[in-house]
């Protein structure tokens, strides 16, 4: 399931001719509806990158995790939107076992480099942590 969705995203990105198109798409994703409930933008759910802030919440519904997240930087938010689309509504086990290859494939790997100060790497870590935590509950 997760991988199907990853492949879907990869296919989508193949349409783009240059970085401009790609980033315009990302930005448009970033601009869409809020990805998280304002009430969930708490200090607890914040992940502080050096430059942009990321909020992440995870809820268990029917043995599946629902992720919601946000960022104050729009490109970061665009990437988060892709990640949520790929990961949400999956079982903890699926998430734990998944390898997020689509980011690399669509040419956004730089944003997930541990040396980036945008908070995305910490977010991915946090996602895995949630999955582990919920897997004990399921």
């Amino acid at each position: 399931m997760i991988n199907e969705r990853q492949d879907e995203v990869i296919e989508e990105f193949e349409m783009f001719e240059d970085w401009m198109d790609k980033y315009e798409y990302l930005i448009s994703l970033g601009k869409e509806l809020p990805l998280i409930d304002e009430s969930k933008k708490t200090e607890e759910n914040i992940i502080k990158g050096c430059q942009s802030r990321v909020w992440l919440a995870a809820d268990l519904n029917d043995s599946k995790i629902q992720f919601t997240a946000d960022s104050d930087a729009i490109i970061t938010k665009g990437i988060i939107s892709l990640m949520i689309r790929v990961l949400t509504d999956s079982s903890p086990k699926e998430i734990m076992e998944t390898e997020l290859y689509f980011i690399d494939k669509v040419g956004l790997k730089e944003h997930l480099s541990p040396t980036r100060s945008n908070g995305l790497v910490s977010m991915v870590k946090q996602i895995k942590m949630y999955a582990i935590a919920y897997s004990l509950k399921v």
Binding site: M20, Y23, I27, Q51, S52, D72, A73, I74, I75
Partner: protein, 407 residues
């Protein structure tokens, strides 16, 4: 005034002809670190290829040659900053190391409960945290000179703070986030009137002009070579001889001792007392090349050129809708910070980078200053003498495009 030939100067810096993301590199992150002329790269190369040896203790030819070259660098720095004695020039790891050396070695032996240390609202974390740490330990009080909305120190407030309790005033010469050039000479004179010492953080000054130790009458002055077209991993702490003489050593180890027994160790003379361990020899030696290079340039022309870049970029940036410059001091170095309404600095940084433009985004290690302006961070373009007006134009084009995409 005669103009410098930027195109010629750029040829001295090999990196400036490279491309980034398929576009010619427009390097406007000089406040973070400057690029290196070929002569500096060659000096490092030559040291490792022909002369590499440890210094100060060897009798053999290589060691003697390396030692001599290293000490030549010390003298060149001495001359460049107009220090009275060469032993007032201490090699450190960088600006941060120099401040920590003083906050630690001077602070431990000079601060006591209730004493006051004054810093400013525009300090870099490197000139805040070390003072917080030592004030904490010594129960001394840290006071902060506020600034106005243009990013200038409120001198009236400073004067009110000064008293016999003031033991140290530590401030930045040129603000890395705002560009403000502080009136350090006046600040030093006022501090001296109440018997306080002054440490000036010259990290951003040295790319724009040689600081003059004797004119400033400053007690301690710190900077790093990597922002002045020299190598990474080396910096300078200048200190008045009598003060350095009186301060206990900071680190212990080789080179900083005269004699060691398990019962009693006596320390070496200046400058070695503060230079424990094998230093960054290659960088120390290449320091001479950096100083030679910058002193070979015409600095009157450079000042005019940098002023022109600053003025031109300021006007052009102000034409961009929603863009607000942070830091509009009358006396400013060629550094411009700005924010764009409704757009995150990070997003702009990412997009302009795709067009080959390197600017810095974020808090610039000045979080309290960002809080003062109620912002998370800024976009900063910082110019060196090798930047051109065309590069300003490219920045403006890239910014407009980024803002377009992001709004």
């Amino acid at each position: 005034m005669k103009k410098i030939n930027v195109n010629e100067i750029r040829k001295d810096f090999p990196i400036l002809s490279r491309k980034v993301n398929g576009k010619p590199l427009v390097y406007l992150d000089n406040g973070a670190t400057s690029q290196k002329p070929q002569v500096v790269i060659d000096a490092i190369n030559n040291y490792y290829t022909n002369d590499n040896a440890n210094i100060h203790r060897g009798v053999h030819t290589l060691s003697q040659a390396a030692t001599t070259a290293y000490e030549v660098s010390r003298k060149k720095i001495q001359t460049w900053i107009n220090a009275e004695h060469s032993e007032e020039v201490i090699f450190t790891k960088g600006t941060t190391d120099g401040i920590n050396l003083i906050s630690n070695a001077w602070g431990r032996s000079n601060l006591k409960k209730g004493d006051e240390v004054i810093i400013t609202e525009m300090e870099h974390h490197s000139n805040i945290v070390p003072w917080q740490m030592i004030c904490d330990e010594k129960e001394a009080i840290l006071k902060v000179i506020p600034i106005n909305d243009s990013g200038e120190l409120l001198m009236g407030e400073y004067k009110k703070m000064l008293s016999s309790k003031t033991k140290m005033v530590a401030l930045v010469h040129v603000s890395n986030a705002l560009g403000t050039i502080n009136p350090v000479q006046e600040i030093i004179a006022l501090a001296h009137e109440v018997g306080a010492k002054v440490l000036v953080d010259g990290a951003q000054q040295v790319a724009h002009a040689a600081p003059n130790m004797r004119d400033l009458d400053v007690d301690f002055y710190v900077f790093g070579l990597h922002k002045m077209f020299g190598p990474t991993g080396i910096g300078i702490l200048y200190g008045k001889k009598a003060l350095l003489y009186a301060i206990p050593p900071y680190q212990g180890g080789g080179d900083m001792i005269k004699t060691v027994t398990f019962e009693k160790t006596t320390y070496n003379e200046l400058p070695f007392k503060f230079e424990a361990g094998t230093p960054n020899i290659s960088a120390g030696i290449a320091t001479a090349a950096a100083v030679d290079y910058i002193t070979s340039l015409n600095w009157d022309e450079i000042h005019a050129h940098e002023q022109e870049l600053l003025d031109y970029a300021t006007v052009e940036l102000k034409n961009i809708k929603g863009l607000k410059i942070i830091g509009e001091a009358t006396n400013k170095a060629s550094v411009i910070s700005f924010v764009v309404e409704g757009i995150h600095a990070y997003d702009i940084g990412v997009i302009v980078d795709k067009m080959g433009i390197a600017v810095r985004t974020g808090h610039h290690c000045t979080q309290p200053l960002m809080n003062r302006f109620g912002i998370q961070g800024t976009i900063r373009a910082s110019f060196a003498f090798y930047n051109s007006k065309q590069e300003v134009d490219l920045l403006i084009v890239a910014l407009n495009r980024a803002i377009n995409m992001l709004s």
